[in-house]
Amino acid sequence: MAHQHPQSSSVPPLGELEIAVLEYVWHQPQVSAKETHAAIGAARGISANTVQSTLERLFRKQLLRREKQGHAFYYSAQVPRQQLLVGLINDVLGRFGRDTPSSLAAFVEAAEQLDENALQALEAEIIARRKREGRR
């Protein structure tokens, strides 16, 4: 699967309810506001109107598409889950890798900056040390 690299502004800010609605829509081919409310709104004590406006917001953010069937709109995902996640992670790691302020702390540095020969030498050193430890 080819990696997709949306720009940092490609993932709009999402609230907790929007994420819950998105997670539900991703698992269904098409949903109505009524079905979404029954699935996630009722358990949270949220009115059908709130769920309806959440779906509307996600549609305006271009994360859902909709089509009218009779009197009701039916919503489906416009952006696959994996693509949205890749965009989000790119935002976090991309900002991280550059010399910009960040309150994160992580495990490895930009791997592409590392010299292959240096890595091989270090690998050989670790193997040699393990052998020495084994002899003792």
Binding site: H3, H5, V11, P13, L14, E16, I19, E23, R81, Q82, L84, L85, V86, L88, I89, N90, D91, V92, L93, G94, R95, F96, G97, D99, T100, P101, S102, S103, L104, A105, A106, F107, V108, E109, A110, A111, E112, Q113, L114, D115, A118, L119, L122, E123, E125, I126, R129, R130, E133
Partner: protein, 323 residues
């Protein structure tokens, strides 16, 4: 009002002098900080002092210039201004009002305030956006509240959160590491959380806002390296140097197969970290707190000079202000 503005302008000039001193100081001292023979904790402490200097020195100078009129007002020192030349500005009397607080002064002051505010707002905006995105990622992720696993093939692991701290791991990382290596990564990340490194990073970035960009980059590099090595040491205490070095290598190898422009994780030199782990223990080249003591003494000397030579400082301000 003129008096107040004149006094404000003169103190502003003193603050700028302090900032200049604090900005130039790390050019000399950073050499003594960026030293792999020092322990990570020592390096972190020293670089924090250097980062704080452009804040500390203006505060010290302005406080001490004001200390004379304050002491005079409380009758702790004599009203000495009457007994010497009025050829220069006195921070404590009406002569401050003779400073022409004209358009140039207002523009310059406004410009500096705008620059400072912009710098802070940019930092706040970035941090806010990052926080929001991390919360979103956390909501999309699975697992326990403290350890969240995000569904992505690229290997990465990070510690985040100021109040609600958590470790974010990618499924790609977990799939490519052995059970023991996963524990090493978690030990490293939890060390970041235990030390509240996300919060420390944020505070450090706030301090860097007063540094020139090039110097801020150098200070940030040393700081991040120190924090990463300290977290490595926490993992070393449980799993040994070889295990941590080998895990680091394994993660780097895994990351290289997912070479993408935007998927570079993290702000520290991993190669240097592995070399340090495989080398002998670092030795402190100077007694503990030597650097800190020297810098504290330096600040005290500056403070003493500012207090005892406050007339020189006032004369300098008067000269710059064109009185």
């Amino acid at each position: 009002m003129d008096n107040a503005l004149g006094l404000f302008w003169s103190l502003w000039l003193v603050a700028i002098l302090g900032w200049l001193l604090g900005t130039l100081w790390p050019y000399v001292s950073l050499h003594f900080v960026d030293n792999s023979r020092l322990s990570p904790a020592s390096r972190a402490r020293r670089v924090l002092i250097l980062a704080a200097l452009p804040w500390l020195l203006p505060v010290i100078l302005v406080t001490l210039v004001n200390a004379v009129p304050l002491l005079k007002a409380s009758h702790w020192v004599a009203d000495h201004c009457r007994y010497h030349s009025h050829g220069h500005l006195h921070a404590c009397d009406a002569i401050a009002g003779s400073i022409d607080f004209g358009y140039v002064n207002i523009t310059l002051t406004g410009l500096i305030i705008v620059l400072l505010l912009t710098s802070f707002l940019r930092l706040a905006r970035r941090e806010w956006q990052m926080r929001r995105r991390l919360l979103m990622l956390s909501a999309f992720a699975q697992g326990k509240p403290r350890v969240r696993v995000v569904d992505d093939r690229r290997p990465f692991a990070l510690a985040a959160g100021i109040h609600n701290r958590f470790v974010l791991l990618s499924r790609g990382l977990l799939q490519q590491l052995s059970r023991r290596e996963k524990r090493v990564v978690l030990a490293h990340e939890f060390a970041h959380l235990r030390h509240a490194d996300p919060l420390r990073n944020l505070l450090f970035e706030c301090l860097l806002t007063l540094h020139l960009p090039q110097r801020a980059t150098a200070l940030r590099r040393v700081w991040q390296q120190a924090l990463e090595e300290r977290a490595d040491d926490a993992a070393v205490a449980r799993f040994g140097r070889d295990a941590v070095a080998s895990t680091l290598l394994q993660v780097i190898r895994a990351s290289r197969s997912y070479h993408t422009e935007r998927c570079s994780a993290v702000g520290a030199n991993a190669l240097q970290r592995i070399q340090r782990l495989l080398a002998a223990h670092e030795r402190e080249t100077h007694p503990a707190y030597f650097f800190e003591s020297v810098h504290l003494a330096g600040l005290l000397v500056v403070a003493a000079l500012a207090f005892s030579h406050h007339h020189t400082l006032e004369t300098w301000v008067a000269w710059v202000a064109g009185i």
